[in-house]
Structure formats: C-alpha cells, structure tokens
Symmetry: C2
Subunit: 301 residues, 2 copies
C-alpha cells in the first residue's frame, strides 16, 4: 500500500470502494438473452446502485493490510455483497419479515413478484460461490476453496441462516440478552467476520493477524447491530429507506428494548473502542479499519 | 474398480449407492444445539431417507469410470443431492409451484412453515458448496474449486434457477418445443450434466472422456424429463408421491402435450439409445451408466 493510499479519508475511501465493487458486480451480473433474463433483472435490481457496501470495504481494507491486491479483494467483496443482498431479498419476503421497502425502493418481491424474488435470492447466493471459485479471484486453488468454505460457513445454517431462524422464532418468545447476542453473532456477525478474515485468507496472513481481524470483526459486528437497533428505534423510515420500529411494534426484544437507549449507546461505543484495540498488531496501516469503527457507531442510516 | 464391483446388477448398485450417499448426508447434516436446530430438522426432513439418489449415483458411476475413489464421488454426490433437494423445497413453495406433497410426504413448507422452508432451502444450497470446498472431498484445491464452479454454474441463473424462471413464465405463454427443451436443459439437464462430469473432474479425466460424459448426460437428461412428463400424464399420485397432471390442469405445455404420448415415448427411447452410444470410449466399464439409461426410461416413479 502506497503512502498516498493511506491518507485517503475514510469517506472517500468508502465511496471509491463502493464504486469499484459495483463495477465488479455489474460485470458479474451479465444477463443471458432468454426469458430467464427476468431473474437477472431482479438480481441486478437487488444488488446494484445502492447500499453502503460496508462488507466489501472490510474485505478490501483487510486485504490491503495483509498484502492482497485490490483486484482480488474486490471480487471477494462482491461475492460477500451478493450473499448480503440475497439475504435481504429473502428476509423481506412476506413469509419472513414481510418488508415492502428496502434501501428506499420497493423490495424485490414488490417490484417483481414473490417467485422471482425467491429465485433471484437463490441465484445471487449461488453466484457468490461461482465468483469465489474462479481463478480470477486468486491463482491458488487452496485459497479459493478456503474462501468458499469460509463464506459457506458464515452464510449457512451455522451462521446467517441459523441467525435468521432464531430471529423468526424469537418473535414468539421472551428473548433475553444472551439470545439477542446469539442472533446477532449468527445473523450479521458471521458475515462481517468473514469479510474481515477474507483479506487474511487472500494475503496468506499469519494466524496472529487473522485472529486480530477476527476479534476486530466480532466487536465491530456487535456494535453495528446495537446501532442498527438504535436507528430502528430513533431513526425515520425516510432516512433509513426501510420501515422503522417494526421490532417494537412486533413486541420483539432488541438491544435497545433490553438495555435502554443510553446503555445501548454506551455499549456500542465501548465495543467500537474494543474493536480498534485488536488492530495494534497492524500499526498505523490499519487506519481505515479504525475509522470504520467510528463510522459504524456514528452513522445515521 | 474390481471385477466384483462391475458385475453388481444396477438395482443393487443403485440401492447401495443411495445408502452410502445417505450416510454422508446424515453426517453432513449435523444440527447445532440452539433454537436454530429447527432449520436443520427441516433440512434433514427434506433430504434424508427418500429419493432415488439418481444424481449421486451418476457422480459415483462416472467417478468410477475416471478412477476417482468412491469416498470422493460420494461427497460430491451428496453436495449435488443437497442442491437437488433445496430446489424441490423452494419449487414446492406456494409462490412457486405450490405443491403440498413431495416424495409421498407433506412438502417442507407444510410439515414446517414457509419461512422455515425458505431458510432450509437456502441452507441446503449453501451447505453443498461447503462440502465441495472441504479437503475431505479432494486433496487438490484446484479440483475442489472446479467442482464448486461447475456446481454453481449448473445451479444458478444460467442453469437450474434460470430454467425454473422460464418454467414459471411459460405458464402464461404458448411454449413451443424449443422453449420446453430449453427449460429442461436448464432446469434439470444442467445438474444431471454436472453429476456426470463431476467424476471426470475428480479423476482428472482427459477432455475426450469428459466430453463423452457431457454428451451422455445431455441425452439422458432430456430422456429423463420426457419420461417425467409421461409419468405426470399417465401415473398416479400414489405411485409418484407427488401431485400429478398439474401441468395439464394449468394448461402448461409439456413434451407430452406437444408430442403426444406415443411420440414422446419414441423420443425418450431414441435419446436413451443415443446417450449410451457416447459411452463407447469407456468400453464395458460403463455398464452401470448404460443400465441407467434403460432404468430412466422404464421407471414408474
């Protein structure tokens, strides 16, 4: 990483990273000629042109810390974003969270229809693994397989899908702090964790650095979710581009309902601080990941 | 492959293969302790203990032809079966084909609920890639990545998902023979194709053999689908364990509605014969794949 890259302020780095990952996504999501192009329209609708691209940025920043070329990290970031977008499409379905609004636009099943949304989610998930398996992502097949395995574990029944399952069941139970934390760790934490560890896998980083990124991601992910709950409680649908206070309306426990607004804010700050402390092993090169921790707790959307 | 293995009649080989792949599936589908175990129950419900396991058997038989150990082919076969089962779970959903019956049992969304069925399908698909990425499947990372890429292409928007998209759209159009063939090639042909090519990938077979398996699978897959349409037209729900004559009731074009029963039968036989002709390069070792072609057109379920 050159000196010039290091001094780019986070905001610029984030928007440059988002633009670069969008370019990769645009290339990847090439539609065929036949009538099946409808599912590609829905895939493009659900993944291009919006979203913070936080996860791809974490892959990019961790890749830079571990010596991986941006071209590799961006493909991994794109694969992670495909998985994130698929999860939003399926979570928004009537049988799941039943959300009509996503990123300020009609959800995929509203803009298209339920069947197309189910298929678009399926195809986005599948495409993520195709992207990782390609030699364009990394020349070493072992590295590619490690990425596939890591993403699959983060996304599957022992990760994100498992978290969504508990989250749905928790609507009918009195979830306590331990359960809310478990939901977060699986539903959002696992994919944020893989985003940070991906850079270490790509760059062949030693165990010490991989572990540092894992710990950073763990604390960052929890802080991220607490802020999400705060925004759901205090934010407006207009700012967030999605329905707010749905959890409260459903009588569903959140970090905010369990801790209160002030304690939730305090915990988010504490976790962001703790996340940053794990980055010491990287020295000042980890500037962007440090700034992300602040960004995550100060964000308004 | 020993002489003893070669003379096992197809019926025994099929049931032994099914038992062996079920054992792998049972091991793979280990449930965690938490409340997310519900999604694993649904995954196990939808993939264990029934089904012909035709695709895993094709992987096993093609693996034997190309010198791959059974232990590797069975893991790939299990991954393919996970993808096949996920597709059935999602296709049965009310927003898709809306089928309450599958393999003689209530469909996943009936036995559980829609949200759980969506998640179970997602997790089955994800798990397939995790299985392929594991060194237990093959020691060479490049081979594992090739398997991941091949399965993803067969299953995604340019394969199975694309086929299901056209199939859903075809309900509202006058589909002709070319479109029905395209639906089949994508919806069922692609995964059958990968099942046969997987053995060549595992065994590092030369291009000539891989191509022969590809052509065999192409014709076999089309014969399989024509027979499926014949069974849907002529079979009983009791025998098939799923609703019949749904396509006719929906006014949907099938090979049978376009060709008539007799011509459809003639084509299926022709295709099975043609499929077998591609196997000459393997000599008499390809006995099981030859027998499968007969099995596919003579099956009653």
């Amino acid at each position: 990483m050159s000196e010039a890259e290091r001094i780019v302020p986070l905001e610029n780095a984030l928007s440059e990273g988002a633009a670069a990952v969008d370019e990769v996504l645009d290339q990847i999501l090439t539609s065929p000629e036949g009538p099946e192009s409808r599912v590609f329209e829905a895939m493009r609708y659900s993944s291009l042109g919006s979203g913070k691209r936080l996860r791809p940025f974490l892959a990019l920043a961790s890749g830079r810390l571990c010596g991986a070329p941006d071209s590799q990290s961006l493909r991994v970031g794109a694969a992670i974003e495909l998985v994130h977008c698929y999860s939003l499409v399926h979570d928004d379905l009537p049988a799941m969270d039943d959300d009509d609004l996503r990123r300020g636009q009609p959800s995929c099943h509203i803009a298209f229809d339920e069947a197309t949304a189910i298929l678009a989610g399926d195809a986005l998930l599948t495409l993520a693994f195709e992207v990782l398996s390609s030699p364009a992502t990394h020349p070493d097949g072992d590295v590619r397989s490690n990425l596939v395995g890591g993403l699959a574990r983060a996304a599957g029944g022992h990760g994100m899908v498992g978290g969504q399952m508990i989250d749905l069941l928790a609507e009918h139970t009195d979830a306590d702090f331990a359960m809310i934390t478990r939901i977060q760790r699986l539903k959002t934490g696992a994919l944020i964790g893989f985003s940070c560890e991906a850079g270490a896998i790509l760059g062949g980083a030693p165990e010490e650095k991989r572990l540092a990124l894992h710990r950073y991601a763990h604390d960052l992910g929890l802080a991220f979710q607490i802020v999400d709950d705060l925004l759901d409680e205090l934010g407006s649908a207009k700012d967030l581009g999605k329905a707010t206070q749905k959890d409260a309306a459903a009588g569903k426990a959140t970090f905010v309902s369990l801790l209160g607004v002030e304690e939730a804010k305090r915990r988010a700050h504490l976790l962001a601080h703790q996340a940053v402390s794990h980055l010491d092993v990287f020295g000042e090169k980890a500037e962007h990941l440090r700034a992300i921790a602040t960004f995550v707790i100060e964000r308004r959307t």
